[in-house]
Subunit: 327 residues, 2 copies
């Protein structure tokens, strides 16, 4: 198994529940390149059936414990569950205290749960680009429930969680937390708001404040509920899961789901195009040229627009040269 | 004059205070293309001396009346002032009630004030790309004070205002307004917060709420002040102008200014590069190909990453073909 990197062998195995084959496939997808493209071409057309639930919020808000509880809810309905953890503070990603780790390991013996950490992928740009591919792979391989957990701090991470069918924004009791969520742009992306650790003081005020904030400027359509939970004990979890289901029914019935998924796919195409174009420029233009032009711009010897034009011209000439040279 | 489009003639005239030559130059810069590049190459190296002040906030917050007052403050120091209005609701951009229009026209007889509206430029993508070039031109031609007024609604407009040396975020009294500002991401970009229309009830609460929100998660460095103004009467304006000056001294002294400007220029280079690359793809790949691939992705017949790869390949082949054909 350790040497198999052929998707033609790995794919049927993964479809049959072989978790090591699945893990290998995901690594190949993450690593990009021709094999990644081959796998995605294979699994993508069969996808679109998974329900993706994004969870985001500040570190320590209890996202992982909530995810853990939601895994149980989904499993109790008989569904297989995949979890993608992009959160460096998540126990799923290995950055947690012992108690969390132990609890998460409960699922290790459950063949119906597959947990994948994206924390080791280095810089966030790589994670942002790789996560949608990994989610598409899990979807295409037949997982009916996919959870994506990110920290609601950087814009890229917020976007990842916002690119789910249902996005949960997790805060804790206290005025500051909901304001921080607002500042981080989380009010805009949440379909459901969770005030977790509801055994702490101030939970009613936070629920009320959030509800008031959300009412402002809200148009017709889905009105995001605010739900108090204590993930550690399970309080409020079944209500939360029912809200996820209600949101699912709402967007499916109104056509919002289809429109949102179409928009996300178009956005992903544009994003992939820009990644490819950036790479083409970086690899075609000598680093000296790039660095020198950047320096000239920073020192105001050359304006950024003419600098960009020179880089694009250098790219076109390089392409021409490559063609001449038969490379 | 109506037919002169030669920068070699227009530039010296504009530098000598000819406002029609200046207006013509800005139109040429906005229209993009080789002449725009020529003008920018000419004026950019002499720039970096203007102080740019961005104003943003919801429509109706009183940004234009504030800008009007700040123009007077700057003029009273003897400085020439340029205003770039990207706000469709701004009287500077022509979308205002009569009272506002009349007041703005006070400056029409003042040769020391140049007002440029960007509202007629059509879609916002064009405005976003053109505004930094227009600001750079005004800076390069020697205006020591440049105000940029945008509506704090769309991300692009917020970014434009945030790309100033000092950014003012304007709200009105009332709890909802400061929350809306938070939701729009304005708390992150403001150097100074203005609670305008301070003759309305609730001003003290709004100042306090904003100050509390701003304190959360604030590190060392500049602490954004919250200043109450009544732009209609001039109340608080000199305090506001002093705050702009204080911010200027602060960032100049700490080196934050130099770093911020360097970062903005690098970001502008990258942004110009992406605009150019997008244009190259759009013009090189037949629209049919583009639309067909997008449709295939939306219908899940093709994954977005392989679709992007095909578009990039088509672009490279087209470049090759063009070279062969000697175009």
């Amino acid at each position: 198994m350790a040497r198999i990197t052929d998707p033609a062998i790995l794919l049927p195995r993964a479809r049959n529940g072989d978790r090591r084959a699945l893990a290998r496939l995901i690594t190949l997808v993450e690593n990009d390149g021709p094999v990644s493209a081959e796998i995605l071409a294979e699994v993508f057309p069969g996808g679109g059936r998974a329900w993706t639930t994004g969870l985001t919020g500040a570190p320590g808000a209890g996202k992982s414990t909530l995810t853990d509880r939601l895994i149980r809810e989904a499993r109790s309905e008989g569904n297989e569950v995949a979890v993608v953890a992009v959160d460096p503070s998540s126990p799923f990603s290995g950055g947690a205290v012992l108690g969390d780790r132990v609890r998460m390991q409960d699922h290790i013996d459950d063949q119906g749960v597959y947990i994948r950490s994206m924390a080791s992928r280095g810089h966030l740009g790589g994670i942002s680009a790789a996560t949608p591919k990994v989610v598409a792979t899990l979807d295409g391989l037949g997982f009916p429930e996919v959870f994506v957990e990110t920290v609601g701090v950087g814009q890229a991470e917020v976007e990842i969680a916002g690119n789910a069918d249902t996005t949960l924004v997790v805060v804790n009791p206290g005025w500051g937390d909901s304001v921080q969520a607002a500042k981080a742009g989380l009010l805009e992306i949440g379909d459901i708001f969770v005030v977790n650790k509801a055994d702490r003081p101030g939970v009613h005020e936070t629920v009320r404040d959030l509800a008031q904030m959300l009412e402002l400027g809200t148009g017709p359509g889905w009105a995001p509920p605010v739900i108090a939970t204590i993930a550690a004990t399970g309080d409020g979890i079944s209500e939360l899961w029912r809200a996820v289901r209600r949101h699912r029914e709402h967007v499916a019935a109104t056509g919002d789901l289809e429109a949102a998924r179409r928009n996300r796919l178009t956005a992903e195409l544009e994003s992939a195009l820009l990644v490819g174009l950036r790479r083409a420029v970086r690899s075609s233009v000598p680093p000296d040229t790039w660095d020198d032009l950047t320096k000239q711009v920073q020192q105001r010897r050359l304006d950024p627009w003419n600098a960009a034009h020179r880089l694009l011209t250098a790219l076109a000439e390089r392409t021409e040269h490559d063609n001449d040279g038969g490379q």
